[in-house]
Symmetry: C2
Amino acid sequence: MKKLNSWCIELPVPKPSLDDNSGDLDRLNRALKKETSIARVNSPLILLKDLPSKLRSSGFQIKCALFRDRLGYYLTGIKGKDEKGFLGVAVDLGTTRYVVSIMDLESRQELCKGNYLNPQAKIGPDILTRIHYAEDPKGREEIRELIVQDLDEKIKILCEKAGADVEDIVNVAIAGNTAMTHLFLGIEPNWIIREPYIPPLNRLDLFSAEEVGLGLGRGTKVFLFPNIGSYFGGDLLAGLIECQMHKNEEIALFVDVGTNAEVVLGNSQWLVACAGAAGPALEGGVSKIGKQAAPGVIDKVKYDPVKKKFEYTTIENRPPIGICGSGMIDLAAELFVNGLLDIRGKFVRDREKSLFVEKDEILYLKLVDKSESGTGEDLLISQPEIDSLIRSKAAMYTILETLAETVGIPLSQISKFYVGGTFGNFINPKSAITIGMLPDLPLERFVPLGNTSLKGAKRLLMEPDCFDELFMLEEKITYIELNVNQEFMNKFSGAKFLPHTDLTKFPSVKVRDKI
Amino acid sequence: MKKLNSWCIELPVPKPSLDDNSGDLDRLNRALKKETSIARVNSPLILLKDLPSKLRSSGFQIKCALFRDRLGYYLTGIKGKDEKGFLGVAVDLGTTRYVVSIMDLESRQELCKGNYLNPQAKIGPDILTRIHYAEDPKGREEIRELIVQDLDEKIKILCEKAGADVEDIVNVAIAGNTAMTHLFLGIEPNWIIREPYIPPLNRLDLFSAEEVGLGLGRGTKVFLFPNIGSYFGGDLLAGLIECQMHKNEEIALFVDVGTNAEVVLGNSQWLVACAGAAGPALEGGVSKIGKQAAPGVIDKVKYDPVKKKFEYTTIENRPPIGICGSGMIDLAAELFVNGLLDIRGKFVRDREKSLFVEKDEILYLKLVDKSESGTGEDLLISQPEIDSLIRSKAAMYTILETLAETVGIPLSQISKFYVGGTFGNFINPKSAITIGMLPDLPLERFVPLGNTSLKGAKRLLMEPDCFDELFMLEEKITYIELNVNQEFMNKFSGAKFLPHTDLTKFPSVKVRDKI
C-alpha cells in the first residue's frame, strides 16, 4: 500500500475480459486500491462519460487527478497517460486583495501568479460593511458573484499568460478568513458577528467548481480551508499547514498579522489559538499615507541623527508615495530610540523641531519632503496615526502575552516565532521588539513566512497528506475566546507604552538618553 | 446507535453557544451521529446556503432527507420539523415502457403512478438499434435527452396530479437493464454488445439530479441500480431486493421474463445468475396480434371442446384486440391439451377444421371472430407465431435447466419460484408447465411478483437498509455466462417439444389422446 504522493496518479487499468465482468470504473477503482490506500473514488457523471473512450484510446494506461475531503476521494480528471498534465489553483482570498497561483500538479511548479484587488471592496473596504450588505439574500448573491466572477476571469487570464489550458484545472484550494469564506460561498455571514459569534460553516467538504460558480475543468473540485471559529479562519489553518509547527516538539508560536492578530501557540502535542483585533494601523489604507505594499511604498526606515534626516527604501525603488505597516513599525522604533517619540508614543517636538509641522492643532512628522516624494507633496505622519499604531502594537503584545499566560508558558520559552502574512514578511523583528509589539526574543527565533495562506493552499495541492494534517489540526486546536476583562485591559495599558511599562520584559531595548 | 429506518429523519440540532464553537453543519452532523450510525453527511452547497436560516427559523428542530451510496451518506433535503414531507421517485426504466411512482418518504405511501412509452422507441423499438444509434456522441446525447426530458416532464405531471411539489423530491431510484442505464446516463453503450461484452459501468454512485438532467429538488440525488454484467442489469438487482430470496435458507429461483430471461438461483448462502435470449414471443408486439398488456388485450384463454370455441378474458373486459404473452401461453397450453397442437407445436388442423384458415400457404388459428373482435377483423394466430412461442419457451426452460445443472441442484428442489416482470404477473403457471416452459413444480411454489423492478426501487426509497443488501448482492452473485455449446443445443432441441421429449420431467402434464 503506497502513500499518495501526488494528486496525479498514473494508473494501468486492467482490461475488461470474459474472466473479469467488472465495469470500467470498478476496474479503475481496483487499480487505484492496488496503488494507493484508496478503496473507491467518487466521480462526477461527466467524467464517467469520458471514461470508456479514454481507457480504450490510451490502451488502458491513464492518469487520474484526485482530490479529497473528510468524506473520501474524488476523481477530478482523467487523461491518457501521455497527455499533458493536470493543473491546480491555489488562492489566498484576502479581504483587500487576493492572490491566485496556477500550479502544475505533476511538476509541482508554479506556472503563474497574480495579485488582485478583491472586488467586494466596491461594497465596502472592511469586512463588517460587507457582512451587513450580505444580510439581504440579493446583496449576498451580488457580493458572492463579485469575487467568484472576478476569480474566474483572473484564472483564465493567468492560464492564457502561462500558455495553460483552463480545462486542465482539476483541483482548487482556497484559503480565506471566516467571513471571506462565507461570502465566497454565498452563505449567510451575519451569524459570524452576532452572539454567540459562531460561524454557520466551519468544516467544509469539496464542492464542484460548477456549484461554486467557477467554469474550469469538467470534474474540478473546490476545497475551502475550514474555519475554527468566527475569528479564526481557513487562512490561518493554511498558515499552519505551511509553518508545520504541529510537527515539532519545540514550542512555537505562529502569528498572522493583519487587522486581526491571529495567534497559535503549541507543538506536536497541543495547540491553542486565539484572535483579537490588533487595530487597523498594521494594515495599510487607514492612515493618510499608510498603504498596502506596492511600488513606491516605504517599507524600511532609518533615522540619521547627524543629518537629521530619514533614510528609507521603497518597493521597487520608486519615489516614495506612502508607507506600509512594516515601514511604520520601523519608523516608530527609529523615532523612539532617537528620542523623537517618548514612552507614551508622543512626538518629542523639542528634540528636533525641524522634523515637525503643526496644522490645525495636530502635530505631524515630515517623513519625506515634497521635493523627494512621488506625490509632489510632503509625506506626513500625524500624531493620531502614531497613536493608532501604538494601540495596535499594544493589542498584539497583550494578545501574545495573554495566550502564553493562559497556558503557563513564558514568552521567553518560545523556540520559534513564525510571522505569517505578506505584511509580516516585511516586519523587521528588531523594530517590532523595540516598540514592544513582539516579545524580546533572540532575533534568530523570528521566522518570516510570507503569504502563509497562499503557501498553505499551494502545499495542499502538492502534498495529499496535508489533508490528514488539516483534519488533525481541526481536532487539536483549542480556540480560546480572549476574555477582554480587567486583567486584559491592565495588560493592554502597560503595553501601550514604548516598549512597555515593565522594561524587564524588553532587556534588549536601549533607549537614547532623555533630553 | 439507532438503525436508519427512513430516509427522513427528524433532528434536534444543538444551538450554537459560546461553549460550542462548531459550525451549523458540524452540529447537524453531531446530532445525526447521535441518532444514527452516520458520522458525516455530504451536502451540496445549495443546501448549505439554506442551513443557517432553516435552523434558526425552525428553532433548531429540523428534518433532513438523506440518501446514500458506496461512498457515504448525502444530505438531499432540509426542512423545518413541521414543514410538509419529502418525496421520492421510483422508476422502472423499461426498454418499451417505463413506470414512475411518486412516493411520500415519510408516510411510505405511493402518491401517484404513471406508465409511459419509452420515447427512445422513436429511435428504435429494440435495444440493439438504440445502442448502435448511440455510438455517435450526438446520437448518444439525443437518445439520452429523449428519456431524461420525458421523465422530467412526467414526474412534473404526476406531482401536479398528486398535488405534490416537485421541489420536495429529494431521492430518486431508477432500475433499468444495463443498456437502458447507460443510455439514460449518456455513457457509451456499445461496449455492452462487443467482445468481451463488459459494460462500461456496473457499480454506480449517486449523481445529482442536475448532472443527470432532471430539474427536481435543490439537493436531489439520483441512484441507478448497478449492473452485474451486460445482460444482468439494475432492474434485476431491484427485483432481488423485492423478492428477498437472499435472506432465506431455502433454495429459490427468481426469473424475470421478457425478451431476455434473467434468472437467479440460490439462497442466503450463495447466488448464481445467468441470462439468455428467451425470444421475442414472450413480449408483445412481435406477432401480428401479440400485444403488451393493455385494455382489450386477451390475457387468459380456455378452449371449450364441446362448443368448439375459445373462451377468454380481456383486460378491462373490452372487446378483444390482440393477445399478450400470458394469453399466448394459455392458448398454446389449451391447444396442446386439446390435441389441437401436436408435440412439435404444429397445428392439428384435422382435429377441428372449423378453427383454422389457410392464407398464402400459412395456416392460421382463428381465435376470435370478427363479429366479436374490437378491431372488426378476425383475430388470427399463425403457425410461425406459435413456432416463435415454442422457441421462446424452449429457450426459457433450457436456461433454467442449464443453470440448475451447473450448480447441481435439480429443478425439483427449488422451494420457491419467483416470477418477476409485469408480464410474469399474468402467466398462469399451470399453462406454462403444460407447454414445458416452466418446470413441473407444485403450483403453490410459483410466486408471481409483478413489476419487481419498480417494487425494488420503491423499497429502496422506503428501507435504507436495502443499500447494504444491494452491496452484499453485488459481491455475492456469481454471474455465469451461458455457454451455448452442443450440450445446450441438445437440451434446447428436447425443450422444443411440448412439453418436452423427456415426459418424465413433466409428470403432471396430461395430454388428450391423439386422434
